[in-house]
């Protein structure tokens, strides 16, 4: 029966080819658009994680929403052992508190982040965002990196003194004078303004927090994010102290929500394309049905049952759909793979706000889930397209069909 359906598809080869091409074109453009979309989204999400936030942060319970200097990670050494045992090699610990930075005439409140330059360099890319001067070096003492907006507000240039005022462990005032060695320009407001990065050891000494850390930042491959988080949560739950293991989107949910919203729009667009594809296939199947009314009548008179007749029409529609899907997938994936390496240069169209998250050259990539959803949806559309024609065929009266003109 499939052979018969296939021959009928080939019978009007030109019309079938046009239909198959239309399906293929629709699917190929959907796949390519997903490739672009996923490329942008995944880059955004990766950039957010890789520049400073990390994939996962481990804190003392409640630290993220109510950060306090003294609320450090309990028993940090054994937490780090757990991390190492999980096979994670990209991790860094930091100390975080609020501070007041004073320049020549003005002062500004900011977040003070103490980091280990080498460890941080293996985990995040914040060091690459330094625009003037340099990033912190190992074993450095009173050196400081500021965001460009803060530096401008404080009217500071490289080599100037920065005075940092903060509370120490006991709540008494601690003040230090540091040298501004680097200025970061990242395109992200939260970094360019209100952030000072200083050596971890220096900060621990300044605040009396030797050997203590506020956060441990982990960098994970996307496909391991969920499993590793669950694994760490489980391991830490066994300990006496309580911790929070937060994924990047637990901390900054906006971007994930934005990506999901955009994907939802894509699915709406997808359904519009599907309606067009289904209409095209249905039109082809109906036309070839009308041409064959007498033949259908003869087949039914000879004793072919209605279910079989309907099945034949469904098979023809499916063949058109599957051929289109094969062709469309090949073209679409070829485009995605080509632009994955070649990239699409959008540097002309990009403003500085987007610069932090979106790279000027978009490399397409496609999420398996989106690819399968799209292919299955097109397959579903071809089946939907077959419903009406197959019902019509099943309802044919052989005598009327034979005398159909």
């Amino acid at each position: 029966m499939l052979a018969l359906a296939w021959r009928n598809v080939l019978r009007n080869g030109r019309r079938s080819l046009i239909t198959i091409s239309a399906v293929a074109l629709g699917l190929a453009s959907l796949i390519f658009l997903w490739g672009f979309n996923d490329g942008v989204h995944n880059t955004m999400m990766r950039n957010l994680q890789q520049v400073i936030v990390g994939s996962v942060q481990i804190h003392a319970e409640g630290f993220f929403h109510h950060p306090k200097l003294v609320k450090t990670v309990p028993d940090a050494a054994s937490v780090i052992n757990i991390i190492k045992d999980s096979g994670i090699d990209q991790y860094a610990y930091r100390l975080r508190t609020f501070a007041l930075a004073a320049g020549r005439e003005t002062s500004e409140g900011l977040i003070l982040l103490g980091i280990e330059p080498e460890m941080e360099g293996q985990t995040t890319r914040i060091d690459q965002k330094v625009d003037q001067g340099r990033f912190l070096q190992n074993n450095e003492e009173a050196a400081c990196v500021l965001g460009e907006t803060t530096a401008r507000n404080l009217n500071l240039t490289l080599g100037d003194d920065v005075v940092l005022l903060t509370e120490d462990l006991y709540g008494s005032l601690a003040a230090e004078k540091l040298t501004l060695v680097g200025i970061i320009s990242s395109g992200e407001m939260g970094i360019d303004r209100g952030l000072a990065i200083i050596p971890l050891g220096f900060m621990q000494q300044m605040t009396g927090m030797q050997g203590r850390y506020s956060e441990i930042v982990l960098q994970l491959p996307t496909d391991q994010l969920e499993s590793t988080t669950a694994q760490l949560k489980q391991a830490l739950a066994a300990k006496r102290a309580s911790y929070e293991v937060l994924r990047w989107y637990d901390m900054y949910p906006m971007m994930k929500q934005w990506v999901e919203l955009e994907n939802a729009f894509y699915y709406i667009f997808l359904s519009i394309v599907l309606v067009i594809i289904a209409a095209g296939i249905m039109n082809t199947v109906l036309m070839s049905m009308l041409e064959r009314m007498r033949e259908f009548g003869v087949m039914m008179a000879l004793g072919c049952g209605r279910v079989k007749m309907a099945g034949m029409v469904v098979a023809e529609s499916l063949l058109l759909g599957v051929a289109g899907i094969l062709m469309g997938s090949i073209i679409g994936l070829a485009l995605v793979y080509y632009f994955q390496t070649a990239g699409i240069d959008l540097s002309g169209q990009m403003d500085s706000m987007a610069r932090f998250y979106i790279n000027p050259v978009i490399h397409t990539e496609i999420d398996g889930e989106h690819l399968w959803d799209t292919i299955l949806a097109v397959l579903g559309a071809t089946l939907v397209a077959a419903i009406w024609p197959s019902i019509r065929v099943a309802r044919l009266e052989p005598v009327e069909a034979i005398h159909h003109v």
Binding site: E295, V298, A301, L302, G303, G305, R306
Partner: protein
């Protein structure tokens, strides 16, 4: 020795065209014995096709009863009638009998395939019937590569390949020239005699009428006369 294949009585079929009620069949009683070769003749509109469709389970009468091969055709569901046609009947239509995308062999084998016969077996049987209707060597031709007469022969081969109780043919020669029509009728007569298959053929073609062993004349939806060598084969309710 009588062996009844078809017994119909009181068959009526009305068509409504506007206010008018047209009786395509106005009470037909008919008995046909196995092995008969019956031609339904009569002017256009006399009800030949309507009666033939009735016998073929393609149409239902408004009143009357119809038994074929001991089966009450009228109580069957649509699916049961399709299965009945598949296993008991063969059809030859006026034209466009064949499935365009199938070769002659595949067309003959189509009914056998629907019956569930294995490919090798059904192709062998199809080839046998192709030879039987004089079309050896044409097995791989597509319908559009054959003449009208050849196509009708393929249809005859298909009708007989499933070894049916009854072959129904509606105007089988209508699209053929008279010579081709005559030889098609000669073929059907020969198969009737050789195989003993019952034929009922509707036509007003003189060549078909001439081939009849039994001739049933129809007029205004009724049987007006039954004539021929084999009159006992058919008992029609003649109207004076």
């Amino acid at each position: 020795m009588s062996d009844t294949l078809i017994s119909a009585s009181g068959l009526t079929r009305y068509y409504e065209s506007g206010e008018m009620k047209v009786a395509a069949l106005a009470g037909v009683d008919l008995t046909i014995e196995r092995g008969a070769y019956v031609v339904l003749a009569g002017r256009s509109g006399s009800g030949k096709t309507t009666l033939l469709n009735m016998l073929g389970g393609l149409d239902r009468p408004d009143t009357g009863s119809l038994m074929i091969a001991g089966d009450d055709v009228l109580v069957k569901s649509t699916a049961e009638r399709a299965a009945f046609r598949l296993h008991h009947l063969g059809f030859v239509f006026q034209s466009y009998n064949l499935i365009r995308v199938l070769s002659a062999r595949e067309n003959v084998a189509y009914v056998l395939q629907l019956q569930g016969m294995e490919k090798k077996e059904r192709f062998a049987l199809a080839d046998h019937w192709m030879a039987e209707v004089g079309l050896q060597g044409f097995e791989n031709r597509r319908p559009d590569q054959m003449s009208g007469g050849q196509q009708q022969r393929v249809a005859v081969a298909r009708a007989l390949a499933s070894n049916p109780d009854l072959v129904l043919a509606d105007e089988p020669t209508a699209n053929l020239d008279s010579h081709t029509g005559e030889s098609l009728m000669a073929l059907m007569r020969r198969l009737n005699e050789q195989q003993g298959t019952t034929f009922v053929i509707a036509s007003h073609d003189p060549a078909v009428i001439a081939s009849a062993r039994t001739l049933v004349n129809m007029q205004d939806g009724q049987i007006v006369s039954v004539e021929g060598k084999d009159t006992e084969a058919v008992k029609g309710d003649t109207v004076s």
